[in-house]
């Protein structure tokens, strides 16, 4: 089937071939016993860099660490490579900023988050009967948004938006039995132009999602 796909030159045929290729993973003799897996992870997101700082309030982080939830579906094609679709939700805590504004006499409520989805390549670095270590190379669309209420005004954070970015990391799986594995997934997020004020230059959104979870193998 792989040869068949390579002989087709039209884009839509390649797309059909790609879908067939994904669906055929369980039937390919690639050497690995489990072809599909689904992961559900949760953990903490640690923002880093200047983007999290408030534009004028020194020593105040407008965005702070909060929780992150990740979900991915992986198909393992070759013994040392899996392809997946990744989804995630990153919450951003604005508590520090709210407290600072209150100290200045302004009562505000603020919230912000990042949703992402994309494709992830998972080269397998090492594995044995119970352990599996792989890279996660994700290319994603990140939709960042935020809202703030101040007095009678409620407004969106115009400096957040939808951008292309990367989510790279390492994933360790400890295989408990035929169907379940425990996963640890430290990673780094980079959205090169993720934050841009109306009168300023863009800044990169960076941070570390550190998650643990469970992986179901099929």
């Amino acid at each position: 089937m792989f040869m068949l796909c390579r002989t087709k030159s039209y884009f839509f045929k390649l797309l059909v071939c790609f879908i067939l290729f994904v669906a055929s993973a369980p039937f390919q003799a690639a050497g690995a016993e489990r072809k599909y897996s689904v992961g559900l992870d949760g953990g903490i997101f640690l923002p880093t860099g200047t983007w999290k700082e408030h534009p004028f309030a020194s020593r105040v982080d407008q965005f702070q660490k909060d929780y992150v939830i990740r979900f991915d579906i992986e198909a393992r094609y070759w013994q040392r490579l899996g392809l997946g679709i990744d989804f995630g939700f990153i919450a951003l805590d604005a508590g520090d900023w709210e407290r600072y504004a209150a100290e200045q006499g302004d009562a505000i409520t603020a919230s912000a988050s990042i949703f992402y989805t994309g494709i992830v390549f998972k080269p397998y670095l090492w594995f044995d009967e119970n352990n599996l270590l792989k890279l996660n190379l994700g290319f994603n669309i990140f939709a960042s948004s935020g809202e703030e209420a101040f007095g009678r005004f409620t407004y969106d954070y115009d400096f957040l938006g939808t951008d292309v970015g990367f989510l790279f990391g390492i994933e360790y799986n400890y295989i408990l039995n035929e169907n379940i594995a425990i996963a640890l997934k430290p990673a780094v997020v980079l959205i090169p132009t993720g934050l841009e004020y109306a009168d300023g230059d863009p800044d990169a959104i960076t941070g570390f999602p550190l998650t643990a979870g469970i992986r179901f193998l099929f």
Binding site: H54, P55, F56, A57, V60, W97, Y100, A101, Q104, G105, D106, I108, E148, F150, G151, R152, F153, Y155, D156, Y157, D158, F159, Y197, A198, D199, G200
Partner: protein
Amino acid sequence: MLAGMLRKYPVYPRMPGKTLLLRASAMVFLLMLSVTISADENLAKMTVVNNTSHYLHVLIGDESYLYISPDRSVTQESEGHTTFVVKVFYSPGQGVSGSAERSFDVAPYREESSGCTHGANGGWECTTSPASPGLEAWSIAPDSLQQASP
């Protein structure tokens, strides 16, 4: 002789096709250019300038422009005749409060034009349409903002 050249250089019979393609491309380009020009002519713009020494939040319609630095400005564009509802207030967290709200009726950009028509009395009647800059600006000074919390 020409027939001989055409046989010698068989690429020539394909030229009309290429020429058609070029002409079609040129027409599409000109069409896009004219659309662009007409779109520019139909734009109404609203600019808010921060002439205070603090950061401002500016809301124009449903759009927000946050943390506008002193001496900086923001501009919003809209097609056709537009009423911009502009709300401005000091960005929270600066220890200063104040807000203002105004509406601006902005006609789209238009150059001055004139024309004459044959009138009912047999003479010519000439009219001139005034130019419209298509742009309104609101300069926010400290006294523009009421000293009250938003």
